[in-house]
């Protein structure tokens, strides 16, 4: 793999981060409305006094011209300073890094479940011969994509935790407390993966090279696992970054339902209290995770797909 290729991909990841920062800045500072007022109260700061507003303005630099604010914040960001939480005064960086590992564990397990479930359903339906069962399996993803995840979470919580006591209802420790929220995250993601993989597998199975394998005398199982599977997986891998990013966002719902600590809960609290610096911090972190995942996928692509190797070595 050429150095140029790696460098270019890393530059892209950095670009994504910068873009996320700009988007957040635009949203938070350019949206009509006085940010100072906003930060002072849920009622839009209508009851704040002028001195309080001025204090906020000076503290956060809202009185400076926008460009200055933008660059100022950027510089701070690069040195790791994400500001302080408006509600608690704690450094945003600390808040985020405290909460992140929990959510990473959650998302990791969720991803595992999602991939296993999503590909599993598709592979099963490709091998099953009973008509009605096959129809059922193929219609599952469509349903999975339509059901609100938060409802599934509530039901799981109710029945598996409160009633059957199989899993703990709340808390952030231990593997067993991870499972239910991970499932909640996994369900919508697995449905999407099943849809992409399903479509990809169908089209791969109708490719001429699958006919060649059949003509060699390969049986159905060998065709699916030996030939079609890897090819069909490519589109799923390509969108891994988006899937992972969405999982982190949906963690907000899962962590709320199961009372877990994590980035999601931090975000919900910050939005409710209009704690802008924390909101910014969370968005940047999630964008960073997306960038990292996409970078990893890009760097791994020559390994997975030989056709990409030429690009990797010559660009």
């Amino acid at each position: 793999m050429s150095g140029g290729f790696i460098a270019r991909r890393i530059a892209q990841a950095v670009l994504v981060m910068w873009a996320a920062y700009t988007v957040v800045f635009v949203i938070l500072y350019l949206v009509p409305g006085d940010p100072a007022r906003l930060m002072l109260g849920i009622d839009g700061g209508a009851s704040a006094s002028e001195e309080q507003l001025d204090a906020i303005r000076t503290e956060y630099g809202f009185d400076q011209p926008l460009v200055v604010q933008y660059l100022d914040n950027l510089v701070k960001l690069l040195s790791g300073d994400l500001g302080q939480s408006r509600s608690s005064g704690v450094s945003v960086w600390t808040i985020v890094t405290d909460a992140l590992p929990n959510t990473v564990a959650l998302a990791a397990l969720g991803l595992l479940f999602a991939v296993a479930l999503g590909t599993g359903v598709v592979l099963l339906s490709a091998q099953i011969r009973t008509r009605w069962l096959q129809q059922l399996l193929t219609s599952l993803p469509a349903v999975g994509v339509s059901i609100p995840g938060f409802w599934v979470g509530l039901l799981l919580l109710q029945f598996l935790s409160f009633q059957l006591h199989v899993f703990p209802a709340a808390g952030s420790d231990g593997l067993s407390s991870l499972i239910l929220p991970a499932l909640v995250l996994a369900l919508p993601a697995s449905a999407v993966i099943a849809q992409i993989f399903g479509q990809s597998l169908r089209s791969t199975l109708s490719e001429p090279y699958v006919d060649t394998a059949r003509a060699k005398g390969a049986g159905r199982a060998r065709i699916i696992y030996g030939h079609a599977f890897r090819n069909a997986l490519l589109p799923v891998v390509a969108v891994l970054g988006t899937i992972v990013g969405a999982m982190f966002a949906n963690a907000a719902v899962a962590e709320t339902i199961f009372a877990r600590n994590g980035i999601g809960q931090v975000m919900v609290a910050a939005v409710t209290s209009k704690d802008i610096p924390v909101v910014q911090g969370v968005v940047l972190v999630v964008a960073g995770i997306y960038a990292l995942t996409t970078l990893a996928v890009d760097l791994l692509s020559p390994v997975i797909d030989p056709r990409a190797r030429m690009v990797a070595t010559t660009s």
Partner: protein
């Protein structure tokens, strides 16, 4: 999040004919066979029309008041008088669901309009003009994917006072990417197709080629995508109101209704499950309609 978000459309694969290869077989009777939609499609369409009617004119469907508390009726199971039961304040749930349709659907509708207009425009420009402009636009569009829709919505809600509007705008922005990507792919495919070349060689102007040939042939894949996006937006809007970032109480909104039924899950299952089922039904219906609109792929 859907496969639509990720921008995977069927647009793209041109069938190439090798020199010397015999012509592929076609339908002997020549008619372009179009599959008649099955009953599922009609049911889905009916559901969506009803829900749309709820959103536009809720008072036509129910005369009860969705907001006033009627303590004597609290927590009644579904019955003839209250088909969806009542909540902890005694309010008829069906009425609240009917009235709640407005907030959800209108928000989703606005988001779709934003995504459609901006996305189509960007995709069209990127595909037709090409060159550095294409690169820039696609880069920007790709970067938009870095922030998941739900997160963007939350961020915007933190910045704006009107939570519903904030969510709509955020979702619209998040949806631009997928539509622009598909539109651009469609435009490129049409542009490189020979009939556009043929039009050029006759001497037609670029602008008339765009309007007459490129646009009508590119719109197809977008249609199915928009309907799917509509469904997905409804889910995200519901999730937002579940988290408390929707219309302020006592205005009814489906996601919030699911949330408020949470503590009564054991005693009054209808409070959470019926609004949630409503959401699922609406999203399922949109997906079913999108499926029908999907341009027929060559693989059956």
């Amino acid at each position: 999040m859907t496969s639509a978000d990720i921008g995977l459309g069927t647009a793209g694969l041109e069938e190439s004919v090798e020199p010397g290869a015999p012509e592929p077989d076609h339908d002997t009777d020549g008619r372009r066979s179009r599959r008649l939609p099955s009953w599922g499609f009609w049911v889905a369409a009916a559901i969506l029309l009803i829900v749309l009617a709820w959103a536009l004119a809720p008072s036509l469907f129910t005369s009860a008041d969705p907001v006033t508390a009627v303590p004597v009726d609290r927590l009644q199971a579904p019955s003839g008088a209250h088909p969806f039961g009542t909540d902890e304040l005694g309010r008829d749930q069906l009425t609240r669901v009917v009235h709640g349709a407005r907030a959800t659907l209108l928000a989703a509708g606005l988001a779709v309009v934003i995504a459609l207009v901006v996305g189509t425009f960007l995709g069209l420009v990127a595909g037709t003009v090409g060159g550095w402009l294409d690169d820039v636009i696609m880069r920007v569009v790709d970067l938009l994917l870095a922030v998941p829709a739900l997160l963007l919505a939350m961020a915007l809600v933190a910045a704006m006072s009107n939570a519903g509007l904030a969510t709509s705008i955020a979702l619209g922005i998040a949806g631009i990417g997928a539509i622009a990507r598909v539109m651009r792919a469609s435009v490129l495919k049409v542009r490189s197709s020979m009939y556009v070349d043929a039009a050029r060689s006759i001497g037609a102007r670029s602008s008339s080629i765009m309007v007459k040939h490129v646009l009508p042939n590119s719109i197809g894949p977008i249609l199915a995508m928009i309907v799917t996006e509509f469904g997905q937006f409804i889910l995200t809007i519901a999730a937002m109101s579940f988290l408390g970032f929707g219309a302020p109480p006592p205005d009814p909104e489906w996601g919030a209704m699911v949330e408020s039924g949470r503590e009564f899950l054991t005693v009054a299952w209808w409070m959470t499950s019926l609004p949630a089922a409503m959401i699922a039904v609406v999203v399922l219906s949109s997906n079913r309609i999108a499926q029908q609109l999907e341009p027929k792929s060559r693989i059956s």
